[in-house]
Symmetry: C2
Subunit: 663 residues, 2 copies
């Protein structure tokens, strides 16, 4: 019987996720397994919501509720705030009619339910519960059953770090368990569902929680009680713990989640059902990977990663379909104050995180375009590493015919940059055009001389500046914006995280664009990702997308020639080796290492290369001086897809006053 269930789950999950209507014979074949409700079969409605787009989110939910009813599942769970979208920012405060619209839609969704319990994440106005409340909302899950809204469960712990801003729009619940649904039109004072799934085949209680409520830790949440503990004390007949979540992908997050689930299942000796959303909302890329975990902590079912899915599992049977998920590092580091640990080595190969990074960025690009209603992208192809990787990832996300590369050589560009860019575009199958920028450079340089002449009597000229370099970068960005306007294409920013961190990027220039796909990917990881893409292609017998010359040349914007050597100044000449910069960024972001600690500890870089103490001090000075001055650039950076484990420069992730001093 266990084997039969397993085979059926495999077939069913495959069929459900092929798209289209369910084959009638498959539904009929389901009778032996589903037969009657109460057996423990649940659907995980792993949808891809858009913020505030209630109609579109409702369509996905509706589709899955209908399927779940047809299959006779005990219940179906949708992610946190699935009907409104998460994160929602502050828009529900400025536009409260979105919430009213959402409640109307919720009532319509309720009408679709019969015997299957549907759990749908919603923004719940506190005014519906307490008319004098001035705080606006709860973050809730509505229980839809037999055509009605039968109650709600509310979020207790509100995360407010990194990409989480729950306390801006939500109040924590302090009641335990299912609460009555007090929408004005119902007037219910007690919930009309008792949390027990009953059917001809059995009965069992379920305990619902929302996202962070499963992450309770007395040291992180002093003066608060554990939401699961409270639930089980109130309702000891709970046999299945369910969580509706919106948990973005970050390096090591999957391992951290699995460790948590194993711990919870074993601690409470109950199976778990965890439903996470997929898709990207601005900077946040969610990986789905909803799962069922047995009471002994074993992973028994997992939905695909970075894909929409309706996935069926029975957490009680111990069998299920575990879809593959990208390789990931062992665990993510804590956002809060972890002590710097000089025994940890920096891994410049990023080998364990390339597949997940790839999916995270490709999904991030795809969904940004889909959700803003654009099909086409345009970017400058310099023949360098960053622009080549952005091009490759954008081609995967949008289709190569929708990604336009523009070669914009200046008088300081090398011939190799042109041929490498052309080679890349051919390999990717994307259109490419040429717009040399010698003329705009001449025009702006002539204006610049004219300004010097006009101002000479009034303002003394300062030290030699980067204006010449910036003219090139701004001229290129202007060309891309013009093309974007004329062809309804979004320009992509090409700066990587290392450059942005050190402020080695031009405002209104290479760092500008609609989206910054690599804004949270370190330079060493960009390089490794290029090699990984090539290796993946080789395995498939396909053409390697990134020309070898691009992967091996030193990074640099080719904006200037070193007068001493006659060669292009590389970025590493101007800054420091990227392998070192990336290690410093990682030690600061993930381990909060201080300048003093970095000075004293032996860096991984120092175990690989010989570094004189004065050189190390000089590089550390450059690092912190540049980081302190770069904050104004981060402020005007476009959305960047958050990828790293513990810290980024993304607006949604990190708030740094421009006028602040950090040392």
């Amino acid at each position: 019987m266990k084997n039969d269930v397993s085979v059926w789950l495999t077939l069913m999950n495959a069929a459900l996720n092929l798209g289209g209507a369910l084959p009638a014979e498959l539904v009929n074949q389901s009778r032996p397994f589903l037969g009657s409700r109460g057996q423990g079969f649940w659907g995980m409605g792993q949808i891809n919501p858009a913020a505030g787009h209630v109609a579109s989110n409702a369509r996905q939910i509706q589709h899955h509720i209908i399927a779940a009813e047809a299959l006779g599942l005990d219940g179906i769970v949708f992610p946190e705030l699935s009907l409104m979208g998460y994160p929602i920012g502050d828009i529900i405060l400025r536009y409260p009619d979105l919430v009213a619209q959402q409640l109307n839609t919720l009532s319509e969704l309720a009408l679709l339910t019969k015997e299957t319990v549907a759990l749908v994440g919603i923004v719940e106005p506190i005014a519906n519960v307490s008319p004098t409340a001035k705080a606006p909302y709860y973050n809730s899950v509505a229980i839809l059953h037999q055509g009605e809204i039968k109650g709600v469960v509310r979020k207790h712990l509100l995360p407010n770090y990194n990409e989480y801003y729950d306390a801006r729009t939500f109040q924590p619940d302090t009641e335990v368990g299912i609460q009555p649904w007090q929408h004005k039109n119902t007037g219910h004072t007690v919930p009309t569902w008792d949390g027990v799934i009953t059917g001809p085949s059995g009965a069992y209680g379920v305990g619902l929680s929302i996202c962070y409520d499963w992450w309770f830790d007395p040291n992180t949440h002093p003066n608060q009680t554990c939401p699961i503990q409270g639930l089980l004390e109130q309702q000891p007949n709970i046999q299945l713990l369910i969580n509706a979540s919106a948990s973005p992908s970050r390096s090591g997050k999957q391992a951290t989640r699995q460790a948590l689930f194993q711990n919870l299942a074993q601690k409470y000796q109950r199976p778990l059902l965890y439903v996470n959303q997929c898709g990207a909302i601005d900077e946040h890329s969610y990986d789905g990977a909803s799962c069922a975990v047995a009471a002994d902590g074993t992973l028994i079912s997992r939905a695909p990663s970075f894909e929409s899915a309706l996935w069926i599992a029975n957490p009680f049977t111990g069998v299920g379909v575990v879809a593959p998920s990208p390789e990931e590092p062992l665990a993510s580091t804590s956002y809060f104050l972890s002590a710097p640990d000089s025994t940890l080595a920096f891994d410049a190969t990023h080998a364990a995180d390339l597949e997940r990074t790839y999916h995270s960025v490709v999904q991030g690009i795809r969904d940004y375009f889909t959700k803003t209603g654009f099909q086409r992208a345009v970017l400058g192809l310099s023949g360098g590493l960053d622009s080549s990787l952005v091009a490759a990832l954008a081609c995967h996300a949008l289709g190569p015919q929708n990604v336009l590369g523009v070669r914009m050589p200046s008088p300081t560009s090398s011939d190799g940059s042109l041929t490498d860019a052309e080679d890349l575009a051919q390999r990717l199958g994307m259109p490419i055009i040429d717009c040399p920028i010698a003329e705009p450079i001449n025009v702006f340089e002539s204006t610049r001389q004219d300004v010097h002449a006009q101002l000479s009597s009034q303002w003394p000229l300062g030290a030699p500046s980067f204006a010449g370099d910036n003219i090139q970068a701004m001229s290129r960005a202007s060309v891309l914006r013009v093309i974007g306007n004329d062809y309804r294409a979004l320009p992509l920013a090409t700066s990587d995280k290392s450059e942005l961190y050190l402020g080695y990027a031009t405002v209104n220039g290479d760092m500008s664009g609609a989206l910054s796909p690599l804004g949270d990917v370190l330079k060493t990881k960009v390089r490794a990702l290029g090699a990984w893409l090539n290796a993946k292609a080789r395995l498939k017998g396909a053409i390697e997308p990134i020309p070898e010359a691009i992967l091996t040349k030193p990074s640099g914007a080719e904006l200037a020639i070193d007068p001493k050597t006659g060669r292009h100044l590389t970025a590493e000449d101007a800054l420091m080796p990227y392998e070192l910069a990336d290690e410093l960024i990682w030690r600061v972001e993930a381990h909060h290492a201080t300048p003093q600690q970095l000075q004293t500890m032996t860096l991984t870089y120092e175990t690989r290369y010989t570094v004189a103490p004065e050189q190390k001090q000089a590089w550390l000075d450059i690092f912190f001086t540049r980081v302190e001055r770069a904050a104004f650039k981060w402020w005007v950076a476009p959305p960047m897809i958050i990828v790293d484990g513990s810290g980024s420069l993304a607006h949604s992730d990190y708030r740094h006053p421009v006028t602040a001093k950090i040392r």
Copy 2:
């Protein structure tokens, strides 16, 4: 005696705030009033802190502590987080050594105290109190007295709306009153100060709170207790309530605060001492106006607005010096869900808020430059309203010799725009130069044609676009950036709030810059502010700064000619009357009016002008369509000084996902 105290307070506050050392004779004259401690004389240390700049903040605090000791005051109060700076963003999480540095400095400040109690706002590591805590910090006030840190008071209510993000970095305190200072080096388990000021002249208890703890409302803070109530129950001998605050200026905030203070004083029948910071940190402009309020609710002393000050008051005497504060509207509207009220009229004259707006913006510009270490600004002078007002305000903030105006006419610019700009610069006394942009326009237009030719076989050209207009705006911004680089000057963005709200601004163009001084000032208010500046100058017998022609011409970027009329297309042709747009913005931001409500209600605009129903519907459609599409522009906007009462587009104030739908 009362009169003598009053005269002395006037002289003393004037002398203290002239700068330099206190005259010895004034200190001697103080003996009759101060004589011995215990009489109730307090200092309000209204400093202007910078985020993370512990050394600079400490210098200001040190200066005032020394003066307070010399004068024999009972105590001196500094603002919330005065030593670290508020708001601090997330930087204390990424750079925890800032907090360690701050604690060292705090110990040094404590050594300065003798008999005067000094209350200094600090970031307090929870690890100092509870070693297993994973949450990082409390928002605390340290009590410095007799050379020691004698205890702390911690913030209970953590605001998380608008510009407040307390829950990201702080945990709420749940203990009442003064807690022991448990820094590793002390090991104290009880506070070494009992909250009682004792001296030869008397003794009285003081009750300390931090900022939002005075704003408790059971409807806004369900499941929480009133911090003041808790304090008075624990320590009934409290005779003076003190609040250390960091409360930014917004339209109507001053009136809201005064109403609160009156209410608190009367409710608890005790006098109040309220200390607020001044100065700007990025988008936040604080107005100071620290004050003492008698037990009957009367305002008896107020420090200057928008200025650093050490201000002395005795809340028990009933007399004091009330420095003037700018006129303000009666009260600010609530950020949370206030119901739309169609009986409220929109005041397009903004008469009651111009003086405060002026100070808020001028301080915001000045402190952004001071705190980033820049002296000079550069901006384009189009002869239009926005750039003229930014120029005038920047000249007031930085000195006219430090503000460079650049005329950048294009072939579509009018002659009037050139002469008006020159007239303005002469009136302001600022340097002005010319950089025509015909050549860059030609070069980019030629590139554009070349792109069309190259792409014709691959991508069909879209609908006619704004690329031509954007070329002008981007070329101008590029010129300003180049000048900024060469002369170490910061470019100022000139877009106003109405334009930004409707997305009528060019990314990498007029909306780009280091700072957006008018980003939260509606177009109708910009116009009114210009007239107000002129009226103020007339009153002083000075030259009116803004030429009349600039105040009266219709707004528009002069980017294009209307082929039908042969005249410049005005912004109002492309959008809608600004008086209407501003009313809609106000009704949405301050009163959360929905599209449907706006459609049905009689707008103030409709009481003044005849509007056909189809025209109104068309304008509302333009409004909401543009607002929904503008979010990507807000994302890359530079810091904008927050001015309005209830809502803005500033990053610090409002979070709006770019991919969101709002209707």
